[in-house]
Structure formats: structure tokens, C-alpha cells
Symmetry: C2
Subunit: 330 residues, 2 copies
């Protein structure tokens, strides 16, 4: 056994991760080479994979339970954007060699809470002890009805463009976590940091949009960048208004204190809200969904027949030059 | 664009990885949040995920095409052990920030060759530029017939224990790559290094074992460790003979030059051969499969009603003290 009582790879899986497969017989207790996944009649599988690296997507000293929640939720957010219900997850983790039993315990507890909250068991994966930063990769498996699918490519000119919840909190939270927003109160700061650390995948919304939306994406690269993905994939353009973008009270306080933060609202990403388009004759259904879920769904513009994204009131917010989103290799 | 012409994350995916999704309409050209996976009638999904880290599972200066082949093949090997046919893969990659276009091109070519060889398209994933070692994580999706499954847990006392191909090459190849086998000829050295770098997943064998085998696993942790997994999961013991373990000519030359390498044959892992058990009344079917596939299938022992693994002739090979397999956190 290792010095801190973690044991070897097999002990670690048995102690911390195998219990997370409870309730998923196809996971075979995480003891086999692969897991078996059964869907319901009339369903088809969707799959998404995202990686998170300490120092890039989260801070190494973030609470371990929050890190666990983030790797789960950014992936479930991709399922949400396809209108899928989660059916299971496979996770590979490269832990630093000096990881402690306490850290692993808190990480596993965070996983467990989300596995239960989202009914998405851990069905497989791999653990490695490495010399680099904590690196997590997760594949989320989900199911959609055979005859329905929500993609980025279905937007049509005339569709209304909507976004759930509030936008910009993730990017501002990252700045706030670095201590960088002068004049922001502690409560607003904590709210924004929480939004950055622990996204809320809009799974119920995605499922309801299967019957209502023409296209959807989750806001991970940034509102403008993600809207750009919808436009590119749909062969359409878009017109939006900054004044219509829904902001949290904390984000409003932040941009009031420093109007130079506006570009982060539109370009910063990490919000994991759903951005979606709805044809004009289904506008009423959007209100119904908002009421049913108790979730704000804000209309921020329209899909156009043109190319590119026009921001109608960009000048009012000092937004002439916008970064179209965080791009790793730039 | 970055200094070396790679561009940003989206350019990188479009240039190197999106072409690898060709022929998989459900991959949506790698432009969407998640991929759609359709199985054939009467099939169920299996899924496996493994991560590889430079400096641990491969050497950072290994040829990029070999690294691509290894991350694909170690995962397809897990599908092989379940008797599954591959249907697609999701890969997340954390590349060093100074990765070059030439390296990525060779890596993508290696992926492409295996995607075609194994009919397993790349249907999703994520790329990140990081400060740590190259870290790859892959989830392999496969399909098995609804009414059949091959697991680690089905071994029964009296079953013959078989292994495909030859054992020990992977572990000796790692040592050889580090320059560590004195008196070994260049040809044998190259053969062993090739076996370490580029495993051969035994997919055809796994599919045929669905009707013949009681239990199967791929040899990744080491022959004894993986046999131990079968015994643990099956509630059985095993008796094997070292003299029956199939060695390549190169491995035979290596242990002749240095008999101290014998523990690496049984404990070293990285062979990705299938270790499986077959009831006595189906012994003939093993010969038929070996002939049909042109693949050696060697009987190395028997499943017992006891506990633990007895190595009958351990003393003859100086194997009193065996490491039960590579364990990351030890």
C-alpha cells in the first residue's frame, strides 16, 4: 500500500469509484474490460466527450467536489444540447502522484452527488498516477427518441434566438476567482465563482426543446462563438441585441463596476446555458417551457438569411472588437 | 493563427480530425455537441475507456503514428475481450503547446489507418493545448449480440486456460526500447519494441469466443494479474505452467540472454493478447478458431475450484517471487 493509504490502482477504483457504479448492472461493478449499456425501446444513443485540465479549465486548488461536478456537468451539458437524457458516463483521470486520500474522498463524493442528481452512473474508465496536472476526460452517453434530434444545423431564417438562464457568469467567475473584479461585493463574487466552478446542465430544457427548437448548442466557447457554430452549421446568419442578453444581478454589478468586462459577457464562455432557435409559430411553447421549468428563457435576436452575426447595439456597449471565443491554439 | 500554422482548436479539429469521421453520418462531421450512434437490430452497446500518458504508457518521442495506434488499440482490445465489434470512438487529447503541424499530421495519419483497419470511426472528442505531457483518453464503443456476452466472471473449474499469440513481448519491448537487454540482436529488439508500441487487438478472436469461451480478458496488467482478475471475478482459482506460455522467438532470445527477465514475461503486461477459459467439451472449437484465424491459441493451464493461482513449474524458471502486475499507485 502507498504511504497515504490509497493503495494501488485497483484498490483506488474499488474504494472510490466502484461504489459509483451501483445501480448500473451493465457496469459490472467496474471490474470488467467494458460496460454494457442498454437503451429503452425506440431510443438511439448519443455520445459526447470533453476533457478538463487543472490550470486551464479549473484551478488546481478548487474544491475537489466542484471539480468532479464540473467534469460531469460540462459533458451532460453537451447531451442537453442534443435533447438527450443521460444513461451513463466513462471517466479517465490522471491524478497527480501526491494526491491524498482526503482529496479523492471529496472528489468521489462530488461524483456521487451528481451521478444521483442526474441519474447517470459511472460505468467505466481508467485511473493513472502522473507527473502533469490533474487531467480528467469524460464520455457522457445519452439517449434520444429514434425519430427526434436537436443539432446545431437546423436553424432557419426567421427563427427567434433564445438563451436560458443568464450569460457571462462563467467568464466573470473565472476573473473573480483570480481576484480581478474591483468594486464587486463578496456575495456577487461568490455567486460568479460558483457559476464558473459548477455549471448547471439544462437537461430538462433540452428534452423539451426536441419538440420545439430548430437548433441548439450549449454556451461553452462563448455566446458569440457558439451562435457562430449554429450559423455555420445551419448556413444562416444572426442578428442579436446586447441589451436583450440576460445578466445575473452579479454580472450586472460587475459590468457596472467595469464596462470593459462587456466583451467577456459575449465572448467568455463557460456558461453552459442552452442557446437555441425556435420558429415563429412555436414562440408560445417557449413561454410554456419557461413556466414549467421555472427557468428564464430570453429572446436575444433572430436568425437571418445572411451570413455572420450582426450585433445591433454593439456600439452602445463599447463592443466594436469582439473576441469570437476562447481558442486554445491561438 | 499560431506560429506554426496549426491554427486554433477549431482549425485543428477541422483539419486533422474531422476527416476521420468520414463514413459515420452520426458523427455530424465532428461539428456538433454529441454524436449519434446507431446499432444494428439485436445488438447492445458496450463501452470502454482507457487513458495513455507520455512517459508512462508510451515514450514521448515514439513515432506519432504508433502513439495514435496504441491509444486506439488498447481500447479496441477491451472490446475484443468482451467479444464486441467496434462501432466508433471518442478521443480527448491534451497536446503539448509546442506540438507541430508535422507531428499532428503523422498522428492523424496513424489514427486514420486504424480507423479504416478496424472500421471504427472517430465520432467525437475534444482537444486541449496543455503544459503537461501528451495525454490521450479514448472511449471505444462496440456492439455485441443481445443474447451473448463474454466477461471476466464466467470461468468454471475444469475450464482450460488459453492465451492468444505470444506473451511477454510488450514488457520486454519496453525494456528493449530503453536499451536494456544485453546480447539481444537488432531484429529481435525491433520486433519487441514494435509489439510494445503497436498492440494487435484480437477482435476477430473475441467475436468467435462469444460462442466458445466462458471468460475472457485482455493481457494489459500482466498475465498473472489478468488471470487473477478472472479468478477474482469468477470465484475460482487457476493452475498454470510457465513451460506452456507461448513466447515469440525474440522473447525466447531475451530470456535466454537473461533469465532474470522471466518475471517480466508473467508480470509485465502490455501484450493485449486475449486470455480466456473454455470448457472441456469445447476444446475442439479452440483449434478450429486458431486454424480459421491463423493465430496461435495456447493452452497454459486449467481453472481450479480453489483460490489463487498455482504456477506448477515456477521454481524451474526462478519465479518464486512474482510481482502480480504493474500497479500505478504502489
Amino acid at each position: 500500500m502507498a504511504k497515504d493509504g490509497i493503495g494501488d490502482e485497483f484498490d483506488l477504483i474499488a474504494r472510490y469509484f466502484a461504489p459509483l457504479a451501483a445501480g448500473a448492472p451493465g457496469a459490472l461493478g467496474l471490474t470488467d474490460d467494458a460496460a454494457i449499456v442498454d437503451l429503452a425501446q425506440g431510443e438511439r444513443l448519443v455520445a459526447a466527450a470533453d476533457a478538463l485540465v487543472a490550470g486551464i479549465h479549473f484551478l488546481a486548488d478548487d474544491p475537489p467536489g466542484d471539480i468532479a461536478a464540473k467534469i460531469v456537468r460540462v459533458n451532460l451539458s453537451d447531451l442537453a444540447a442534443m435533447g438527450a437524457r443521460p444513461v451513463g458516463m466513462l471517466m479517465t483521470a490522471v491524478f497527480p502522484r501526491d494526491v491524498t486520500a482526503d482529496w479523492l474522498e471529496a472528489f468521489a463524493q462530488g461524483l456521487k452527488a451528481d451521478i444521483e442528481a442526474f441519474a447517470s452512473p459511472l460505468i467505466g474508465g481508467d485511473t493513472v498516477a502522473g507527473d502533469g496536472p490533474l487531467t480528467l476526460s469524460l464520455t457522457a452517453l445519452g439517449a434520444v427518441p429514434l425519430d427526434k434530434v436537436l443539432t446545431r444545423s437546423g436553424a432557419k431564417a426567421g427563427d427567434g434566438i433564445y438563451v436560458s438562464g443568464t450569460v457571462g457568469d462563467g467568464a466573470l467567475g473565472l476573473i473573480a476567482a483570480g481576484g480581478g473584479i474591483a468594486g464587486l461585493g463578496a456575495e456577487a463574487r461568490d455567486y460568479l465563482i460558483g457559476r464558473y466552478r459548477v455549471p448547471r446542465p439544462r437537461l430538462d430544457l433540452g428534452i423539451r426543446l426536441l419538440d420545439v427548437g430548430n437548433a441548439a448548442i450549449d454556451v461553452s466557447d462563448g455566446l458569440l462563438a457558439d451562435l457562430g457554430h449554429i450559423c455555420d452549421c445551419s448556413g444562416a446568419g444572426a442578428r442579436i441585441r446586447v441589451a436583450s442578453i440576460p445578466l445575473s444581478a452579479a454580472a450586472r454589478a460587475a459590468v457596472s463596476a467595469d464596462s470593459g468586462l462587456w466583451p467577456k459577457i459575449l465572448g467568455g464562455g463557460d456558461d453552459y446555458e442552452l442557446l437555441f432557435t425556435v420558429p415563429a409559430d412555436r414562440t408560445g411553447a417557449v413561454s410554456d417551457i419557461a413556466a414549467a421549468l421555472g427557468l428564464d428563457l430570453s429572446r436575444i435576436g433572430e436568425v437571418t438569411a445572411g451570413e455572420g452575426i450582426e450585433v445591433e447595439d454593439a456600439q452602445d456597449f463599447g463592443l466594436e472588437l469582439l473576441d469570437p471565443g476562447y481558442r486554445h491554439f491561438r
